[in-house]
């Protein structure tokens, strides 16, 4: 007779791990960084490159230090954890493009808020950067340093023409390549990469993009805008960047595919509404609202969505009615 250790585990495991997911995100965000550097190299924007590199360095040092100090408070002194689990490199790289022209004070505050929110929501993706960026927008608004107003409630019925909205910043192509914003094209490639690597809740991201694009398309058509309107709404304001890196954060979004689709659907509607109220920060606010308020709600009805066909129809039906009402209101306003 021979005794064996008794342990009721699954004796074969996939190579999927949190570290692997983090590395996938790091690779995609690193690609983004390289793209920004190359684009500015081609444009001979050397001072921007220097600024950007310094910002990356400073942001990385700041975020790593703050995260390490918080970890030490929790008696976790491992340096490997900082990079493997806390994902400090990805967070720093994702945040850097927003901090290029920031003061040291802004950089410190944004980093601090990002790390604290990351530790609070325990997300594994990069949704924590939203809190830092939102803070930066609000801070600059109160410093009267923001080029565009944070809200344009007064101009709610102003959709703008191509020359008014787009030509001032180049063309749709310059938006797509990311001269003024983070490239939507690269964001889309990163989204596809994360989808192929199965590291993203793709149902959520695609449901969001489809809802947002479709609603904008209908609103545009009824307001006699051409296709540029939809493109502009999709490529400006770093929407695809946030969708790729922050929207589908595992820890704060529903688990089931039905829940994710409904979540993306509702969030798409919220984003469309906010887009006409707070254009600069619409998606940031929408995602934060989604993570804080919508997720608990969808998680509550997730089981019904999965197992009860009638409930599923009811919830999706109600959401469709909401989207139709939104579209009608936005058409009437104009």
């Amino acid at each position: 007779m021979k005794a064996f250790r008794q342990t009721q585990i699954c004796f074969i495991k996939s190579n999927n791990s949190i570290t692997k997911i983090n590395i996938t995100y790091l690779k995609s965000i690193a690609f983004f960084t390289i793209y920004i550097l190359l684009l500015n190299l081609i444009l001979k924007n050397y001072s921007y490159i220097a600024n950007y590199l310094i910002t990356i360095l400073l942001t990385t040092i700041t975020i790593t230090t703050i995260t390490y100090l918080i970890n030490v408070q929790k008696k976790e002194k491992s340096f490997i954890k900082l990079f493997a689990e806390d994902n400090v490199l990805s967070v720093s790289l994702a945040l850097s493009p927003f901090l290029v022209s920031s003061s040291i004070k802004e950089l410190l505050l944004v980093s601090l808020i990002t790390v604290i929110s990351k530790k609070s929501i325990k997300g594994i993706n990069l949704s924590s950067i939203l809190y830092g960026i939102l803070f930066l927008y609000i801070y600059r608004y109160f410093q009267n340093d923001l080029n565009t107003p944070l809200t344009n409630l007064a101009q709610l019925n102003y959709f703008g023409t191509y020359s008014e909205v787009v030509t001032n910043n180049g063309s749709i192509l310059s938006y797509i390549l990311g001269y003024n914003y983070l490239s939507p094209l690269i964001s889309l490639l990163a989204l596809v990469y994360l989808f192929v690597k199965k590291s993203i809740k793709y149902n959520l991201a695609f449901s969001y993009i489809i809802t947002y694009t479709t609603m904008m398309l209908i609103i545009g058509i009824f307001n006699h805008m051409s296709i540029w309107f939809v493109f502009f709404q999709l490529v400006s304001g770093n929407i695809l960047y946030y969708v790729t890196y922050a929207l589908g954060d595992s820890a704060v979004t529903p688990e089931t595919s039905e829940g994710q689709i409904l979540y993306g659907y509702i969030l798409g509607i919220i984003s469309v509404i906010l887009r006409f109220i707070v254009p600069e920060t619409s998606i940031i606010i929408a995602i934060i609202l989604g993570h804080l308020l919508l997720t608990p709600l969808v998680r509550k009805i997730m089981v019904k969505l999965k197992y009860d066909y009638k409930s599923s129809i009811l919830y999706f039906g109600l959401t469709t009615i909401l989207s139709v009402i939104t579209i009608i209101i936005l058409i009437i306003i104009k």
Binding site: A3, Q8, F11, N16, S17, K122, T256, V303
Partner: protein, 413 residues
């Protein structure tokens, strides 16, 4: 469905069938929880097929797998990792049968009642991890139109069905034909992994004689042997509790072979083929052993274990199997595989709610939610869990979800 690198014993490898075991242990409780009231006592002489116990709930007999004398009772481990009381029988190797009625030439000439009686008398139960009495499946007034013979063997190492199909293709096909004739079944599909070309080619040589028997090649993924998956994949049908609801019956290859022996020779289910494999086993192979064989004695009769750092013994495959604390493990009718491998325990982290477990669950459960809210387990349909282990397999946080769900399930009973 997930593709997993499945290590298998080649069906061409010889089945080791010359192991003679002196002491046989017949458990008084089955894996499904059927307990048997003893009908024999210490000192009684028993033959193969002699009734040792009876379960009145499902009218099921517990029979002896050898001829010899009952020398006592003892506790041994069975495949669900529980210690159960067993009859101890000293084998006299005379292979006497309690009631053998000779060879039947044409096994299609049974009536449905005779068929069901034979299944009951020969103690035929499921042989692929679930020892559900086979006669109960056929004892139905519902019209059965299709038979699925499950030869998928999706778990890692499990290779017995392939060995049976490769070595006994004529017997398997003859038995399927007989079941179809007796039960008026229109068509049969033998489901086999598409990568199992050796077996598919072997069956193709004989299958032309049977126009209503088809081979259905399955995508080689896990858990493609799951009954609900097979019915959905082949017929695009779903059912509530059992496939009989939609006129389909499923049977495992090993069970089909046991039915064949029952129909042809009236032979009780007294032996089975079992895969013994893993890095801890020196002589990996399929073994034909008596039901009630003590695994430790098989190892003693063959070769010792390979030295491993932290070995574990698993009753079943790597994904669905359970760890047993000792090799005093009894081969029961449902046990198709025993693996000795290295312990693979990882430190688990907090759930990141990535939804991977929900995505892969073949029973359409939300495993992460079940372990988060065990009080709502029933509402979350925990009963549907088949313990396939895919949730634990894919979890990036390395949480042992399968085990946690199993404990919640046991607690809720």
């Amino acid at each position: 469905m997930v593709t997993i690198d499945k290590k298998k014993i080649s069906p061409t490898k010889k089945i080791i069938d010359n192991i003679k075991i002196q002491i046989i242990y017949i458990p008084l409780k089955s894996k499904l929880g059927y307990t048997f009231k003893p009908l024999a006592q210490v000192g009684d002489y028993v033959s193969i097929g002699s009734p040792l116990g009876k379960n009145d709930v499902c009218d099921l007999l517990l029979t002896s797998s050898v001829s010899g004398t009952i020398v006592g009772f003892t506790k041994k481990y069975i495949s669900d990792a529980s210690l159960v009381d067993c009859f101890v029988i000293e084998n006299d190797f005379k292979e006497k049968y309690y009631d053998k009625m000779g060879k039947k030439k044409d096994i299609t000439k049974y009536s449905k009642d005779e068929f069901i009686y034979l299944l009951k008398k020969c103690g035929i139960t499921g042989m692929s991890g679930n020892d559900f009495p086979t006669y109960l499946k056929y004892d139905t007034k519902k019209e059965l139109n299709y038979l699925i013979v499950n030869g998928a063997e999706c778990d890692v190492y499990a290779s017995t069905d392939s060995a049976i199909m490769y070595n006994n293709p004529e017997e398997i096909l003859e038995c399927i034909d007989a079941i179809m004739e007796i039960m008026h079944i229109k068509k049969t599909y033998i489901a086999i992994n598409e990568s199992n070309t050796l077996v598919i080619n072997k069956l193709l040589r004989y299958i032309n004689t049977y126009p209503n028997i088809k081979i259905y090649s399955l995508l080689d993924a896990y858990p493609n042997g799951y009954e609900r998956y097979l019915v959905k994949e082949i017929f695009s049908k779903e059912y509530h509790k059992t496939p009989e609801e939609v006129g389909i019956i499923t049977e495992n290859v090993s069970t089909i072979y046991a039915i064949y022996e029952a129909l042809k020779y009236h032979k009780p289910l007294s032996e089975r083929i079992i895969t013994i494999a893993g890095p801890g086993i020196k002589k990996e192979a399929n073994y034909k052993v008596k039901i009630g064989t003590n695994f430790s004695e098989v190892i003693l009769k063959t070769e010792e274990y390979n030295k491993l750092k932290d070995p574990v013994l698993i009753a079943g495959g790597l994904l669905m199997g359970l760890s047993i604390p000792s090799d005093e493990l009894i081969v029961t009718k449902d046990l198709s595989c025993i693996v000795v491998t290295n312990n693979y325990e990882e430190v688990s982290k907090e759930c990141i709610k990535c939804g991977k477990c929900t995505e892969v669950c073949p029973s359409k459960l939300i495993p992460s939610m079940i372990i988060e809210k065990p009080d709502c387990a029933k509402k979350l349909k925990i009963d549907r869990c088949i313990g396939c282990g895919l949730c634990s397999y894919v979890c990036p946080s390395k949480i042992e979800i399968r085990d946690k769900i199993r404990k919640i399930k046991e607690g809720s009973k």
